[in-house]
């Protein structure tokens, strides 16, 4: 398993995502209120590109006709069939035990460390002054 520098930390603003390719694999980097998560860009259902889905909240209800939108920005809807996934865990809402998105470790590393290695920067230019997102694949 290697660590790959995929983006500058500032490139992925809270509430957004960035699609990166590591070793030929598409990975979505998500920023949920300052915390970063890396998820395979492939829905476990039918393979929809998750980075094209809407980032949303969790709809809950206390009974018929009662609607609540909770945990705004923490869920992702697949653009194919609308299945909901928790960004932090990759778990689906409909079938959390057996239907989940593949997760990868992602962390913020200072440019100073990234320059030293053992990170793989591929063609990504790094400098000591900035912070970078590093994915483990």
């Amino acid at each position: 398993m290697s660590r790959y520098v995929v983006a500058k930390a500032g490139e992925v603003a809270p509430g957004t995502s960035k699609l990166v390719t590591v070793k030929g694999r598409e990975i979505g980097i998500f920023n949920v209120q300052g915390a970063y998560y890396a998820l395979a860009n492939t829905c476990p259902h039918e393979g929809g590109s998750l980075c094209e889905g809407r980032i949303t909240g969790l709809v809950q209800s206390d009974g018929p006709g009662q609607y609540k939108l909770l945990r705004k920005g923490e869920f992702l809807r697949c653009p194919f069939h609308g299945w909901e996934f928790e960004v932090a865990t990759g778990q689906s809402y409909c079938d959390p035990t057996s239907m989940r998105i593949r997760q990868f470790n992602v962390e913020v590393a200072p440019g100073e460390d990234v320059v030293k290695g053992p990170y793989v920067a591929e063609s990504f230019p790094v400098s000591v002054e900035e912070e970078y997102l590093v994915v483990e694949v």
């Binding site: 709809v59 809950q60 209800s61 009974g63 018929p64 006709g65 009662q66 609607y67 609540k68 697949c78 069939h81 609308g82 299945w83 909901e84 689906s92 809402y93 409909c94 079938d95």
Partner: protein, 369 residues
Amino acid sequence: MKLPYHGAIDCDLHPAVPSTKALVPYLDDFWQDHLANRHIDRFGLTLSSNAPGLPISAREDWRPAQGLPGSDFELLRKQALDGFGLRYAICNVLHGAVALFNVDMAAALCTAVNRYVAKEWLDRDPRLRGSILVPPQNVDLAVAEIERCAGDKRFVQVMFLVMGDAPLGQRRYWPIFQAAEKHGLPIGVHAGSSFRQAPTGSGWPSYHLEDYLLQAPAFEDLIVSFLTEGVFQKFPGLKLVLAESGFTFLPTLLWRNNKVWRGARTEVPWIDRPPADIIRDHVRFTLQPVDAPDGKMLNRIFEHVGSDKLVLFSTDYPHPHFEGDDALPDGLSDDMIRRILIDNPLETYPRLRDAAGAANAQMNKEAVP
């Protein structure tokens, strides 16, 4: 096959009101006078979806020498209650009152039918139980009729036709469900239509055959309505019993509901678990007619449905769905037969459970020297 033992509970049996004149003594003075003035007491007030002259309205050997099929008490007692060795049988009277536009007349006639059933049928045999006929045209009047009948514990459910003014799960009908749940009465929904709406989504069909076949999709509509409107979240104690609906459509209905819910559930977030689980917990189906060619296929359907608790025994007397005494389809396991004949009906109808419990307690008491 024949029933292997006595004590089955028939959850769909059809006594008939022989004529509107027979109901007159059960109407109050005003309605007696009014029906006579307008000659309405000479109308049959039968439903065209259950027209008594049609071959499918009765088995030939179950047709009385005179009068409407199901109107002869002695014949029904001999052929159905004794013939199948029934412990209880629930009388579902199909009557045109539910299709009238005058809601007060509809309510008066429903009351008369219920009084008639109590007096002319339930009083005559302790095995008989009743369904409360209510006017679905008006919720307040329907609730009032439930409240009027609920004290008589021989009434075990509330009765509707599958096709009425609007999808029955809608909130406007909830006071009815609230009253039913409070009194331990499942909502029974029988095949049939008041023909307020066309039985297809694209208009009126040409043939009676279509009316008959299109009952099954109407029952699917009904299940989806109860489910999406959240009736079972609002009334967790409520059971929905579909009579003469068939049930072999269930595997695809359950599967599609689960599938679509996964992506579309945020519109109806009160559906807080897979819909098939909710349907399995709350919806029941009477046995006849069985739309499966053989036992092997029927067992595969039960396997797909994933529950042995959904089907309730019925003869659908006097409607013709089987020959001779073969009221059970072939190929069922002993456990499944026991569930269909006895356990499932008792688990579905609290009032039958209470009656059976009281009868058993009485028997045990008498057994003690």
